[in-house]
């Protein structure tokens, strides 16, 4: 049992086979399989010619994709979703970046509490956020409007930007900014020339996460959207809840594809393992 520890954890270390290690890897592998199983199932169903997928697949077909593209309703929903994403992402990134940077630099007693407050939409039950916004929007006439939806999405996406930019800001050496200012650059100029470029990895990760969050948001959208502002996830929800439309599989594949593209973007630009 007690094997001698080899010097350093370098990859060149000779690995002796151990049942314990094998068992842990098997367990871990099964967990990852469980995680990815639903994605696998959806891809399988989307390309299946039948409404109810089979394993092994009975054939290959793109008919659910063409059904999707031929449907006015799905295209309308897609338009709303894309529009929201275009509004929500920049707003969230600007608000979140400024706030996360400021929290990292501010030094006062309530700092921790302030940060928890900014991250709180992640932990607050979404059904509660949903009816809270519904109630406020009903009295201000924002219910069912694109503005109302966008506000809801910004609130849910905000913590992701705070988190990812916060990590970048914590690693930012304040001496770099001091050097810039002692060389005569003003505070604002320093912020744009020194601070922002150094925060870039966190900002990109935050932008990807808030775009993806907005695009997939359903818990709050369900409360505050109207028939004219139905997003893709809300439409999917309605279809699953009321009827069964295999085109849902095709939409889902598009979602998964977008997620993979987003991941590859993060990996290319900063390296996945660095931002989380």
């Amino acid at each position: 049992m007690a094997r001698l520890p080899s010097a350093g954890a370098s990859s060149g270390r000779r690995r002796r086979f151990s049942w314990l290690t094998a068992l842990v890897w098997l367990a871990g592998g099964l967990v990852y399989l469980f995680l990815i199983l639903p994605v696998f199932v959806i891809v399988l169903s989307a390309f299946s010619p039948e409404a109810y997928p089979q394993f092994p697949p009975a054939g290959f077909s793109l008919k659910w994709f063409s059904a999707l593209l031929g449907s006015r309703e799905w295209l309308d929903a897609l338009w709303i979703s894309v529009l929201l994403l275009i509004i929500v992402t920049p707003v969230t990134v600007v608000l979140g970046t400024l706030a996360a940077y400021a929290i990292a630099r501010l030094d006062f007693r309530g700092r921790q509490a302030l940060q928890s407050f900014m991250l709180s939409p992640l932990m607050i039950p979404q059904v509660v956020l949903g009816i809270g916004l519904l109630y406020v929007f009903t009295s201000t006439g924002l219910v069912g409007s694109l503005t109302g939806l966008a506000i809801g999405h910004v609130i849910v996406a905000f913590p992701y930007v705070i988190r990812s930019v916060g990590v970048s800001a914590a690693n930012l050496d304040p001496r770099l900014e001091q050097a810039s200012m002692s060389l005569g650059a003003g505070r604002v100029r320093t912020f744009f020339r020194i601070t922002l470029p150094l925060l870039k990895p966190g900002i990109i990760a935050g932008a990807v996460f808030s775009a993806v969050t907005s695009f997939g948001e359903v818990s709050i959208s369900l409360f505050v959207s109207a028939p004219s502002t139905v997003t893709i996830p809300v439409r999917i929800f309605n279809y699953i809840d009321q009827t069964f439309d295999p085109a849902v599989n095709a939409v889902s594949v598009i979602f998964i594809l977008l997620a993979v593209i987003a991941l590859m973007m993060i990996e290319k630009v900063i390296g996945l393992t660095k931002v989380m």
Partner: protein, 292 residues
């Protein structure tokens, strides 16, 4: 150089940067909660119209009704079970992530871990319907293997809700555990093993205690998500499952007794806050103990 004035000027700039966010969250997070809190004390008539009077009637209804108390109980139970399963499953997954022998494999595990987070919760839940339905893949598979004669009814019960919850929330538990595993200096384990402790003993005495904070912060996130979601239980469990978020949704969308819904929302919010607060307290104690 550094006078009090310059310090104030410095932090003034940072307060300026944070003020738009504070304004936004104040308007659309704090104000709705305050209004919801006020609403929860309003009375309604039998047609669910708001009356101008205030009382504890809604809270009284929740805490004297066996149905609502049962709902609260099962909400807590489901969230607790989901959290426990998530933590147990997250541990080996986090271990693989941290101990991956090369970067490629590590990135691969990361993609497996993050991709569910990036697909909408409706889609992940939908996949479980496809899997667990009467004519779904699991039943079909079992029928083909002749393990069962009749399709099992796997959907529309609490078990289906928990399975879907675990899959939806597992990444939130893996991340903090992986972070705390990574923070352990390898020489601690090596020291333990070179002193003759076996791998299992080293794990139990060194690794596990040092990752407890990671497990607790994972548990806090999973618990609050599991206690507060309504999309997943609605779709795989059905409308009638006794869960507080579902009951709130029903009140708003169908019965439209808004004050009762608001009171239930605050009950849920407080339950989650108490559990998360307790977990935070345990974490503080534990860290104090470990760091001496």
């Amino acid at each position: 150089m550094k006078t009090r004035g310059s310090k104030w000027r410095k932090s003034g700039f940072h307060w300026l940067l944070i003020s738009p966010s504070l304004l936004f969250l104040g308007l659309f997070l704090v104000v709705p909660f305050v209004l919801l809190a006020v609403l929860s004390f309003r009375d309604v008539d039998s047609l669910m119209n708001l009356l101008p009077t205030y009382s504890f009637a809604q809270y009284k209804e929740i805490f004297t009704s066996d149905i609502y108390l049962g709902t609260i109980g099962s909400t807590l139970w489901v969230a607790l079970v989901t959290t426990a399963i998530c933590i147990v499953l997250a541990y080996p997954a986090a271990y693989l992530l941290v101990r991956s022998p090369n970067r490629k494999l590590r990135t691969f595990f990361y993609i497996l871990l993050v991709s569910p987070l990036l697909t909408s919760v409706v889609i992940r839940t939908f996949a479980w319907i496809v899997l667990l339905a009467q004519n779904g893949l699991v039943n079909e598979f079992l029928l083909k293997l002749h393990l069962i004669d009749q399709p099992l009814s796997l959907l529309w019960n609490m078990k289906a809700v928990i399975i879907a919850y675990v899959q939806v929330m597992l990444p939130f538990a893996v991340m903090p555990i992986a972070t705390s595993l990574e923070d352990i200096r390898p020489n601690l384990r090596q020291a333990s093993m070179s002193l003759g402790a076996g791998r299992i003993r080293t794990f139990a005495r060194v690794t596990l205690p040092l990752t407890v904070p990671g497990m607790i912060s994972g548990a806090a996130i999973v618990f609050s998500l599991a206690a507060g979601s309504y999309i997943t239980p609605l779709l795989v469990g059905g409308r009638l499952q006794p869960l507080l978020p579902l009951a709130i949704y029903q009140q708003v969308m169908q019965i439209s007794n808004l004050p009762l819904a608001a009171a239930m929302s605050f009950t849920l919010l407080i339950l989650v806050a108490v559990v998360v607060g307790l977990l935070g307290l345990i974490m503080k104690r534990w860290e104090a103990k470990i760091n001496g």
